[in-house]
Symmetry: C3
């Protein structure tokens, strides 16, 4: 029974990766300066087509033609926020899904307020680490559930579920086990390696991969989120044996993602209900 479920998720993950390679969805990324290069290369390696475009003047022309939008607030400044909000609004109006990465959501009042405004613009998926999701939950849902001591992804499940329910988004929490929830269902994606934390922008890049998978399967955003997290993790697992440290891991990760084959995906993808 467990094997069967695992194979179903493996097949679904392969379908999402194959579809991304086949359709090469156009993913607009409004992201931080640190991650732009790695994010673009992650999307290219997965078969998607990245467009790092964030000027107010061209969002009305450009954004209606994309397949999904990825907004990441990593190096947020006040002058970037209007473009993020406009792009989210144009995307939603055009029926295109968008994904939010609330980097360091709790680092400042400014940042948290920006996140709350963005969450109101109906992202399809929010992906962060435990403390980011917790900060968002507290700010936008309220801290009434005794979650003050939560700090890893498993502890953050309740916060993620509440946030998902309140916002209508899929919420993903990265950690030792990646958690995905739509407020009712909860799955854990159990792929990846610990050394990913020693490479900058891996979280940003997997969020972009979620955008690509959601772009090719928008009616199954819950599944697409889980498979993107898992596929990125599988690529890291394939890479780690070839790596001597974080920089070679980063290189082999992209190479592995580019070359991932059917049997590896079926064998490795490990997503289970929680």
């Amino acid at each position: 029974m467990e094997d069967e479920t695992k194979n179903n998720w493996g097949s679904t993950a392969w379908a999402h990766l194959s579809s991304t390679r086949q359709h090469s969805p156009l993913i607009q990324c409004i992201t931080n300066f640190v991650s732009m290069d790695f994010m673009a290369n992650t999307l290219l390696a997965a078969g998607a087509s990245p467009a790092m475009l964030h000027s107010l003047q061209e969002i009305p022309d450009f954004t209606p033609n994309i397949n999904a939008l990825c907004i990441n607030i990593g190096t947020l400044t006040a002058d970037w926020l209007p473009a993020m909000k406009m792009a989210a609004e144009v995307a939603v109006k055009a029926g295109k899904p968008w994904v939010l990465d609330p980097v360091a959501a709790g680092a400042s009042k400014f940042r948290l307020e920006a996140c709350i405004e963005l969450v109101k613009l109906k992202p399809c998926v929010i992906r962060g680490n435990g403390s980011e999701i917790l900060a968002l939950f507290r700010a936008s849902v309220g801290s009434t559930k005794g979650v003050d001591s939560m700090h890893d992804s498993t502890d953050a499940i309740e916060a993620a579920k509440s946030l998902a329910e309140a916002s209508g988004c899929i919420v993903a929490v990265s950690g030792a086990v990646d958690i995905v929830t739509d407020g009712k269902r909860v799955v854990g994606a159990r792929n990846g390696v610990a050394m990913l934390q020693k490479i900058t922008a891996t979280g940003c890049s997997v969020t972009a991969l979620i955008a690509a998978f959601v772009a090719v399967d928008p009616v199954h955003a819950f599944e697409a989120t889980a498979t993107a997290l898992s596929i990125f993790g599988v690529a890291a697992e394939m890479a780690i044996d070839l790596s001597k440290g974080p920089a070679s891991l980063r290189m082999h990760l992209i190479d592995s993602l580019y070359g991932l084959d059917h049997s590896t995906v079926l064998k490795r993808v490990n997503i289970t209900s929680l």
Copy 2:
């Protein structure tokens, strides 16, 4: 006869690379956020000296001392355009060549208009892919030649020739075969590997290499453009056998460019008249 021509181009390419290594031309780059790191490393690997400097306040002091300027509109916003225009004007006034990379020229009205303004500021070379050159041609020359169906570099030859003639620039069109024209002469640079398209900012980086080669041989900008495209392609050809995917290709490409020797250049450079 064909071998002789090939050897002439090989010798010219080697002369440009050697001269870049010897003179280390200072190349100012006003470029997009995605490409900055890879572009700087490409220039360094080729022996040039990159300077990523784009503030209005210092262009009057700095730009007269450069050897060439590379302007790339990849992540264009309204606040960057004045610096691009000022730098182009200062460069032209100081007799320094500049090169334009009209990334995604047709993606929005804003971007296309920015390109047209920049083309008027007399770039020495314009390098883009087929659809970018076509968008520029249509906007600045007019769409009267039945080129509406053009979309790859070979199809774009006529558009490139017209654009070169109308603007007085060398025009290069990247594709399976890279095309270079001054409006009269047309050559094809037949080096490179398909997987380059899976690495972000390779186009941006080759444009910067064109700027370096034009800097060391400004009176032969046509030839320098063709040899830069070819040398970058040769470096990729040397790299591909060592690579398992796009990220290792990117690494080996820079290493190969750094180490390219005379005999490899002579043997591999493949530029022919079209």
Copy 3:
């Protein structure tokens, strides 16, 4: 005697690296676009926790909680300067050390004036190459010592000493031998490889590593600056044998920094009094 001194420096360097790995100091970086990715990965590989955060709105909330601040003016524009100054002020007020990288200080009047303003805000350490330190010295101390012909790190010793004395900072000058002075003491860190100059942002990244080492040993900023320069150089020495060019050197450098062990540090660190 010399071996004993060398071993003392080796032990000190290991103490700084170990402490960085153990305490994972939070290093805020306000840096140029080119270096962000490599700098963040350098800090992560050394065990520190990077935060690329530069918005005026959140510095008051965020900066008091950091362990050190790194300010780098590589791609300076007028709109970034207020955040740099505010962050420096908040850091100093909160008793957190900050480190200045005056990239291309002499490239323009605008840049030099920005540097002088920043130096007045009491950085703990200034690290530049010979011409940057010389430009700063001339502008902020005065060109009265006949140093007009200085251009490498050894020649710049007198300028560095004067600048250190006048500003109260530790001053480091990168070059074939890296010089560190507090105005009285002068040491040379003799690690590293020449090919580092062919990789962009290595200077920026070592400045960030200085910030991390100063964060874990703020009362010994002179020693921490020297050991950071040396540890980065040792990582490069370990990497060079595995490398075929600048791009593989960059990768192996990060991997080596991540994996550096006690005996290698003791054996390799080479810092001597000058």
